[in-house]
Each structure stands twice: as structure tokens, then as C-alpha cells.
């Protein structure tokens, strides 16, 4: 069996909620004095319960996490915000200590929770390379040896002796990442650094990380970017509310993640403020996949079924029903629409209850949040219209089947295409 590079054993981390102590010595003294006299805590907020132990509430950011990561594995860690991913990375990077448990590491570990930590704006690019390298554990000799390579990779050769405060933000990040890329650790821990920089830079980062993986080093990668995780990591770990809920191959992990996030269903039973005759009212809108299981987030390129559960009102006389949806982005721009008339059909004499389903094959949307508006017409007259019926969360997925994913805001929709050369 392969060697274990990182062994995380029963690791838990708790944080105290709210302000720890009163923040001032005088405040703590007053609190202590009040306690001696048996009076209530003078610093307690109104409505806050005075706990017997007065230790305040604690929140467990990580609970009893056990992970073993083999040498040479690239592992993606996914989970919602607050699931404990970043806390785990902080513990691995030794920025903070675990509350319980032990982490054992074999080999030199470098963590990139941020690129360019400790950059000083007054210093030149070259000077900052040395400083940043040393902060990340390189010796001066190490940096000198790799200096040419770092400068070349960053692409800011001309400005290397200019103070970095005169750099554009792109140059700054490129230089910072370049140092990080040349740390050459045995284990690399990366947090969301790809979220910065332009598309070309992101690709360069991914390429460099691919190299690192290819060299048989261990990589731990946290990202919301499913596409990046999918193209980089073979193994995946899913976190939810401080616990590891899944560990396995990457594609399984992503499926698990998409399933695990709680399943929001919008109930629309209160129709009093909505326009329309009310012959047919939509009572619930939700998403499901081809197998019929509910979805809360959809991957780009996945087949998705937008379901509109309805109830017929007492005034429904059995007219023909037409349905439609419009998908808006967060700026309120309509991205696409679909309706039964497009297909050239209408539903004649629908039963009292049922579900209208709109199947969108290979969802052509890049990762973002969208809103779905839906409407129902009976005999060409509005029966119901819900402006914000459904929140459609799209996460990165392999739409093109090539592992390529577009950067944020680079495209509003995904279309198939083909390139060829004729001479």
C-alpha cells in the first residue's frame, strides 16, 4: 500500500461565539468583581442567557474528523461555506491549533491560503520574492537558485526592480503566485487562490498545479470551482457542518456534494398577491434530475427537470393550459426562456392536481445563481405568474466533456461548437 502523507486523527476545532472576554482588562475585572458579589454579568447582552459556567456558546467548526491522505494523491475538499474546509486548512497550515486531535504530516508542507502574504508595497518585485519566499519557509539560497525561474514564470521581468506598489493588480498576483508555485513542497495545501486573477492566469495556475500533481506530490485543494477540482483531483472529500460526510473518488464526491446540500423547495401556496385568474395555481417549484431525485444545485451540462406542482381552482373550467419559464441571472437579465408553445403543444383538460415538468437537457449555464420565473395560461389568459418561483444554483460541471470550464463572467451561456481547419 502507498505511504500516508497526512493523517488527520480525531481532529475537532471549536470557536467561542461572540466576543471572547470583554476585550478590555477593565471590563474583565468588572465582570470578575460582579461574579464575586454574585451579581449578574454586567456585560451580558440583553436577552442573552447567563450560563452557569459563563463560558459562552461554542461552535464546533470541525467535529471528529479522520482523514488519511496517501502520498502523491490530489484531493479536492468540497462543501458549502462554513462547512469547515477552511478551518481544516488553517489547522494543516498551523495558523491555528486544533482543539482536539492530532495531525501527522510526512514531508515538507506548504500552504497557500493566500498568495503574496507579507508583500511590502515599498519593496521591489525582486525584494518581495525573497521576503515572500522566506515567509513561506524558503532559505535565501533556495530563492536565489530559483529566482530566474520565478521571474520568468511571473512574466514581469521588466518591472522586477520596481516597487510593487506601482504594479497592476494582475502583475501583483502573478508575481505572488509565481513565488508560491516555486516553493516545491512535498505537500501543497491550496485554498481558493484560483478565485483571483483573470482567466489566463487561472489556467496557468491550474497548469502549474497539474505539474505538481504529476510530479507525485500530495495536493490538498479547496475550491467552490467544481470544474477545477474535477480536472485536478482524483480523490474528493465532502464536508458538511464540520463533519466529513464523504470520502472517495472525485466524481462521486461532487455528486454527493450536490445531493447533500439541503433541498430547498419553494412553497407558493400563498397566491393572494399574484396576478392571474387563478384557475390553475402553482403551489411548489423544485428541481430534480433524470432519476427523479430532487436537486438543490445543478451542474453545468446536467440534464435538469424544472417541476411546477399545481392545483386547479374551483373556477377551472377545463380549458387548455400553456406553461412557460424564464431564467434570469442575478442582474435580472433574462438568459433564456422556454414554453410549451415553443414546442407547439398545450395541455388539454388537466387533472385537479399534477406537475408540469420542463426538461432542459445539458443545462447550458455557467456556474452562478439564477432565478426562474414561471407562468401558466388557461385559454390564452394568465392564470398564474410567479416572478421568483425558484432559485437555480448552478455549479461548475463538465459541459463540454473536455474538462474545460469558462471563468466567471466570461460567458453567459454555454454552447456546443466545433473547430476545424480548411486550407
Amino acid at each position: 500500500m502507498s505511504d500516508i502523507a497526512i493523517s488527520i486523527e480525531n481532529v475537532s476545532k471549536s470557536y467561542r461565539l461572540g466576543v471572547i472576554g470583554t476585550g478590555t482588562f477593565y471590563g474583565d475585572l468588572k465582570r470578575w468583581w460582579a461574579r464575586q458579589l454574585g451579581k449578574p454579568d454586567p456585560y451580558l447582552k440583553l436577552g442573552q442567557v447567563d450560563h452557569g459556567n459563563r463560558k459562552g456558546q461554542t461552535i464546533w467548526a470541525l467535529e471528529n474528523v479522520n482523514i488519511k491522505i496517501n502520498q502523491g494523491e490530489a484531493v479536492g475538499i468540497i462543501g458549502r461555506n462554513g462547512a469547515g474546509k477552511s478551518t481544516l486548512l488553517k489547522i494543516l497550515s498551523r495558523v491555528t491549533a486544533p482543539t482536539e486531535g492530532v495531525v501527522k504530516v510526512k514531508g515538507r508542507i506548504a500552504s497557500l491560503l493566500e498568495v503574496g502574504t507579507g508583500f511590502h508595497s515599498q519593496l521591489t518585485g525582486r525584494e518581495n520574492i525573497y521576503l515572500n519566499g522566506a515567509i513561506n519557509g524558503m532559505t535565501r539560497a533556495d530563492v536565489t537558485r530559483k529566482l530566474d525561474e520565478i521571474v520568468f514564470f511571473s512574466g514581469v521581468e521588466q518591472f522586477i526592480d520596481t516597487p510593487v506598489k506601482r504594479y497592476s493588480s494582475g502583475m501583483y498576483v502573478r508575481l505572488a503566485f509565481s513565488v508560491a508555485a516555486h516553493l516545491d513542497p512535498d505537500i501543497l495545501v491550496v485554498d481558493e487562490v484560483l478565485a483571483v486573477g483573470d482567466v489566463e492566469f487561472q489556467k496557468r495556475c491550474l497548469g502549474k498545479m497539474n505539474d505538481v500533481v504529476g510530479q507525485g506530490r500530495t495536493v490538498l485543494f479547496v475550491s467552490h470551482n467544481m470544474g477545477a477540482i474535477q480536472s485536478l483531483c482524483q480523490q474528493g472529500i465532502v464536508f458538511q457542518r464540520g463533519r466529513m460526510i464523504f470520502s472517495g473518488t472525485q466524481s462521486e464526491a461532487i455528486r454527493h456534494y450536490v445531493d447533500s446540500v439541503n433541498k430547498p423547495e419553494v412553497f407558493l401556496s400563498d397566491a393572494s398577491s399574484r396576478p392571474g385568474s387563478g384557475q390553475i395555481r402553482i403551489v411548489k417549484a423544485y428541481l430534480r434530475d433524470a432519476d427523479g431525485s430532487p436537486l438543490s444545485a445543478v451542474q453545468s451540462g446536467q440534464d435538469v427537470y424544472i417541476c411546477l406542482r399545481y392545483k386547479a381552482g374551483s373556477n377551472y373550467a377545463g380549458g387548455a393550459v400553456k406553461t412557460g419559464i424564464i431564467v434570469y441571472d442575478q442582474q435580472g437579465i433574462a438568459i433564456f426562456t422556454h414554453a410549451s408553445v415553443i414546442q407547439g403543444i398545450e395541455f388539454k383538460k388537466v387533472p385537479d392536481e399534477g406537475v408540469f415538468i420542463c426538461r432542459i437537457p445539458r443545462l447550458p449555464l455557467p456556474a452562478s445563481n439564477y432565478f426562474v420565473e414561471c407562468s401558466v395560461k388557461v385559454d390564452n389568459e394568465y392564470s398564474d405568474r410567479v416572478e421568483n418561483a425558484l432559485n437555480l444554483e448552478v455549479v461548475h460541471g463538465d459541459f463540454f466533456g473536455t474538462g474545460f470550464f469558462p471563468g466567471d463572467r466570461q460567458t453567459m451561456c454555454l454552447v456546443d461548437g466545433e473547430w476545424m481547419l480548411e486550407a
Partner: protein, 288 residues
């Protein structure tokens, strides 16, 4: 994996992260490994601080001279405090040269956690590197101020002033080590406490200034009578300032043996400081 396999694998872990290190586990070896970082911090502070000032390192000269001129006018001419028969300007310059090193060490190391939270929150290196580098970079400014002092000393000597350089000047490195240790020790204790009590930060500058009046910076030890003498002797900085004057100006009424008290005080303060600092550093990111 069987338990014997686990045991054999455990032997070559290169890093074990635990909830809390033992009090005495100072990881001094690791600080040595990061010595390049310490030197780079020193150099960064020096370069970055003066890069955009018009006068550059000249500030190192202007500061002590102006302070000394003010001291000379207020304490020498107006208040007419004794200077043990020394030229007042030289007397105050000597006291100021030593004192500023100590006070700079305390006030800037006291800011270690609060001032570096952004870096400490993102990357690990032995946190002690920062205060150590501060003490070292203050050494540079001390060197420049010492040069200024020596320049004036030579000028005054050539003009026949009542002062003389003695062989005691050779103990300057020891004085510096004690001061650096004291400054570091105080600074570490304060910076560790400021992770919980921000208001201590306010106290530092103020407290150090008050302490100056409790040290023989603007008056000689010989001018103090009675019970206050003991109070002055409790202050570990008093023997250092007095010894510095004795070494370079040739007058002091304090026996050199009191320096041992300063040394012991320094060692205790430094040890306590490092222990507390070491204890706080593991989890300070959660509280700061």
C-alpha cells in the same frame, strides 16, 4: 493497516500538530531554521521605513539631537537639574541614546500579534521571528545614534569638556544584550496579553514614557536621596543607563555590580515572555 504498521509509520512523521504544545517546547531549532527570514525582516524594516522619506536615514540623527536639545533646555537650563558636572548636552544625549533603544524594543515588539495578524492568519512561521527581528533592526538605529553620540563626545573632548571615555566602554555589548533581552521580554509579555486585552496597547507607550522618569535618564543617580534610591534600584534599566554614562563619560555613583541585578531581571523577564508568547501563539488567531 495493523497496529504495528501504524507504529512503524509513526516514527518518521516530520510534523505532528497537536492542540497545545508543552510550555517548555520552545522550538528554538525551528527559529534557527528560519534565520534567513529574521534577517529579511530586519532588512525590510530598514529599507521600507526610509524608502519614501526625504531625509532617509538622516532621521536617525535628527531625532536624538532634537530630543537632547529640548532636554538640555528644559531640564538643564530651566529646571537646572544636576548632571554630575558633565556638559548637559552630552549627559542627556548619553541617556537618550540608551533609553530610546530599550523603549523602541518594548513598544514595537508589544505590537507583534496585533500588528501582524494579517500575515499570521495566512502562513505559518515561528512567530518569535518577528519580535527577534524587531530587536535586531532597532540595533541598526541604535548604531547610528551611538555614532552621533560618539561624534559629539569627541567634539566636546577636543574642546576640553569635563568627561572622559573609559575602558568600561568595552562592556557596551553586554549592556546591549541586557537591554535587548529586557525589551524583548517586556514586549513579548505585553503582546501576548494584548491578544486578549487591547487596551494594554494604550498603556505601553504611556508606561514606557513614565518608566523613563523612573530611570536615571534626565538626572544622575547621585542626585537622588533617601527612599527613592531603592525605587530607582528596583528598575533594571537604571544600572544600564548609569553604566553607559560611566563607560563613556566617566562619572557614575552606582557600582557596576548592580548590572548583575539587571542581567538576572532580564533573564527572568525574557523566559516568562517567551513562555507566555509560546503559549499564546498556537491559538491567538481565534481571539485576536
Amino acid at each position: 493497516m495493523t497496529s504495528s504498521e501504524i507504529n512503524s509509520a509513526q516514527e518518521n512523521w516530520s510534523l505532528i500538530i497537536r492542540p497545545q504544545r508543552a510550555w517548555w517546547d520552545l522550538q528554538l531549532g525551528e527559529i534557527w531554521r528560519y534565520r534567513d527570514l529574521i534577517l529579511l525582516f530586519v532588512w525590510r524594516d530598514f529599507v521600507a521605513y526610509y524608502k519614501q522619506t526625504i531625509l532617509g536615514p538622516l532621521w536617525y540623527l535628527i531625532q536624538p539631537i532634537l530630543t537632547t536639545v529640548v532636554f538640555t533646555i528644559i531640564f538643564g537650563n530651566i529646571a537646572q537639574l544636576s548632571t554630575d558636572g558633565l556638559p548637559p548636552f552630552l549627559f542627556y544625549l548619553a541617556g537618550n541614546t540608551v533609553w530610546v533603544y530599550f523603549s523602541a524594543c518594548v513598544t514595537s515588539t508589544a505590537d507583534t500579534f496585533a500588528g501582524n495578524a494579517a500575515i499570521f492568519g495566512k502562513v505559518y512561521f515561528p512567530r518569535l521571528c518577528v519580535p527577534i527581528s524587531i530587536v535586531l533592526s532597532n540595533l541598526i538605529s541604535f548604531g547610528i545614534r551611538l555614532g552621533v553620540f560618539l561624534g559629539f563626545l569627541v567634539y566636546f573632548l577636543l574642546n576640553g569638556a569635563n568627561a572622559h571615555l573609559t575602558w568600561w566602554a568595552l562592556i557596551l555589548p553586554i549592556l546591549l544584550i541586557i537591554m535587548a533581552g529586557l525589551g524583548l521580554g517586556f514586549g513579548l509579555i505585553i503582546s501576548s496579553l494584548t491578544t486578549k486585552y487591547r487596551d494594554l496597547q494604550q498603556l505601553v507607550g504611556f508606561g514606557v514614557q513614565l518608566m523613563m522618569y523612573g530611570t536615571t535618564v534626565i538626572y544622575p543617580f547621585s542626585s537622588v536621596e533617601g527612599g527613592f534610591r531603592w525605587l530607582l534600584l528596583l528598575n533594571p534599566m537604571t544600572p544600564i543607563v548609569e553604566m553607559f554614562r560611566m563607560a563613556f563619560l566617566g562619572t557614575s555613583s552606582l557600582e557596576p555590580v548592580y548590572l548583575i541585578y539587571s542581567l538576572v531581571f532580564m533573564l527572568i523577564a525574557l523566559l516568562v515572555g517567551i513562555l507566555i508568547f509560546n503559549h499564546v501563539e498556537a491559538t491567538f488567531m481565534d481571539t485576536v
